[in-house]
Amino acid sequence: MGRIYKKPVSMTKIAMRYCPGCGHSIAHRLIAEVIDELDIRERAVGIAPVGCSVFLDEYMDCDMIQVPHGRGCASATGMKRVRPDLIVFSYQGDGDLAAIGTAETIHAATRSENFTVIFINNAIYGMTGGQQAPTTMPGQKTTTNPYGREVKVHGYPIKVCEMLSALDGPIYLERVAVNNVPNVLKAKRAIKKAFQIQLDGLGFTLVEILSPCPTGWGVIPKKACEYVDEKMSKYYPLGVYKDLTKKK
């Protein structure tokens, strides 16, 4: 009768080593819950990026591979092309996906490769110590923007969902956040939808998750969640950017 909320089956017992209040761990749990609910753990292969979430392969209790920085979408393409029966997801940070791996991302999207990308936008390079990311917002301070990102010097941030929505290939693009309860629940619905689209064989899906990085932003976790609402989601509006499921 009653429901039990506890660690999903698709996660290992290993305790996650993220900073206090980091959004990565919430995103991990949501993916695992979706894998449990869709009952695809035994067909799933996850791709861990280079970044704070490089240890994703320790936390997910399914087959995992860790690939070079930025190349998740290329490796996922190879896997899915030779084993279309697998459920492949590529988990990537913003430096990984939108700087060093921009080409791989765009081309996998435009080929509409049938896998799911979970894209963590925390506007910073977490793992290497809080440097500027392609998603760092104008004025935002990082360890390589000590006075705040100056667009005349560093250019403008990349809005991944908006950019990819200009392509014909992607089937489903949504931007969500994991900074409060309603957003977490919406994020899970988006992830589940993306995986379902892959199960249905329709094509490329990407869920962008605005994710607090209290350490990189130099604020306490609570303030980091407020920052997602007050600053990030103003610059990166939440919502569905593309959904071709109805047309197909």
Partner: protein, 76 residues
């Protein structure tokens, strides 16, 4: 004598060793029954604790925002 024990709606368990004290659950709880402990766990964080488990309604909102999956909730 009338029955005075009200039926528990839910069971909440906080795995203090996993908690990193971010405080997300404290803000998320609609019943405001979670708080930061004054002591610290073995990692040096003040863990969240439930001060009135009997008031828990099992909404699991704390579970939803807990990055460490340090909270388990069972709705009875």
């Amino acid at each position: 004598m009338e029955e005075t024990i009200t039926k528990l709606k839910a069971k909440i368990k906080i795995i203090e060793t996993l908690c990193k004290g971010c405080g997300y659950c404290i803000d998320a709880c609609p019943k405001k029954i979670l708080e930061m402990a004054s002591y610290s766990n073995q990692s040096g964080y003040h863990p969240a604790r439930c001060i009135k488990p009997e008031d828990c309604i099992g909404c699991a909102l704390c579970y939803q925002v807990c990055p460490e999956i340090a909270i388990e909730v069972e709705k009875l």
